[in-house]
Symmetry: C2
Subunit: 192 residues, 2 copies
DNA sequence: CCTACCGATCGGTAGG
DNA sequence: CCTACCGATCGGTAGG
């Protein structure tokens, strides 16, 4: 019962690989086609153009983050548990979608204005999610009262986002373990 | 006594702006030339080719980091002070060289193999610097004994490197203040 | 999905 | 530093 991939999906997949390795502009449609065993012009029987590929990959990544993180807003967890869980899911999405995540973080500047705006809006939403968790933690007295909400959210986001630059599958630690270690250090600090 | 900039330096400067905004491959030599008020072919009277620009910008950024961070190894500071100081200098370099730092973090994959290797070696050196500080802190009993040195260094590096994505000059906080806030949170944790 | 082709643009050079 | 040009390659299309 192996899922049958449409040719279109195969194209997206190879585009994800190449765009993440070389970047969007350094990948030609002929490169892409040859990796799929076809001629450059044949791609256009399946897709409308190069930008469609970038838009699709970026949307795929954003959708993975959204599906994983957004439901957290409604869940009944303590702020500390919620922050830990958000970090776990966030790194999990990066780890299991390394190529699209890399394209997402690296190539979104090359999108057309409309798609570009969607990404900046999305980023604001994720910022908001983390800031809300921090704010709630302060209000409930579990986080330090003098934390700067924005800076705290940046610190957490740095940790989870930067993983795409160094995480490689097959390492000793899985995504959740990395997130737990980061969360432990962030919660209680490095100092003895 | 305003420093007189050579034409060559002006070219690097504009290349830094354009490469950081649009990316290396999305910037044409004619784009670059027109921003300098000259014709595309005229650039080659001053530089040898497009890649030289990328190599130079990446080297400039690496040199700034090195000059600022490397002397720290010899300084007689407690591990905590040393970590805080490293973060301060690191973010300071990013903040005062935003364009070259962005090119450095974003475009180094497009370097030729030799220049590429220099960057990965450099990155290992910086990793080593932060890991040594963490290790020293554990050995001297000022950091928690059960810290994972590698993960701890990744966490710190995430915070200082990721700044290039969100820091913009003119904000309320200067580089040192950002670093201090990050260091405070990392040292003593978010939990009350 | 291929062949053959389009106009545009690329990095770079020659000669002045 | 400009004019004029080079071969190569780009994204994309027509017709089959």
């Amino acid at each position: 019962m192996t899922q049958q991939k449409t040719r279109r999906e195969q194209i997206y997949e190879v585009a994800g690989t190449l765009f993440s390795e070389r970047g969007y502009h350094a990948t030609s449609m002929r490169d892409l086609a040859s990796h799929l065993g076809m001629q450059g012009g044949s791609l256009y029987a399946h897709i409308s153009g190069k930008e469609e590929l970038l838009v699709e990959l970026v949307n795929q990544a954003a959708a993975q983050f959204d599906e994983s993180l957004m439901p957290l807003r409604e869940e009944n967890l303590s702020p500390e548990e919620k922050l830990r869980e958000a970090m776990g899911r966030h790194i999990d999405v990066v780890a299991h979608n390394l190529e699209t995540a890399t394209v997402f973080f690296h190539e979104w500047k090359h999108l057309s204005p409309e798609a570009y705006k969607k990404v900046t809006d999305w980023r604001d939403t994720i910022d908001g999610l983390y800031r809300d968790i921090v704010r709630e933690g302060i209000e409930k007295g579990v986080f330090k009262p003098d934390l700067d909400v924005k800076m705290t959210a940046y610190l957490v986001l740095s940790a989870v986002n930067w993983t795409y630059t160094w995480y490689r599958p097959g390492g000793k630690l899985g995504a959740r373990q990395i997130a737990d270690q980061f969360a432990d250090m962030l919660m209680s600090g490095l100092r003895k």
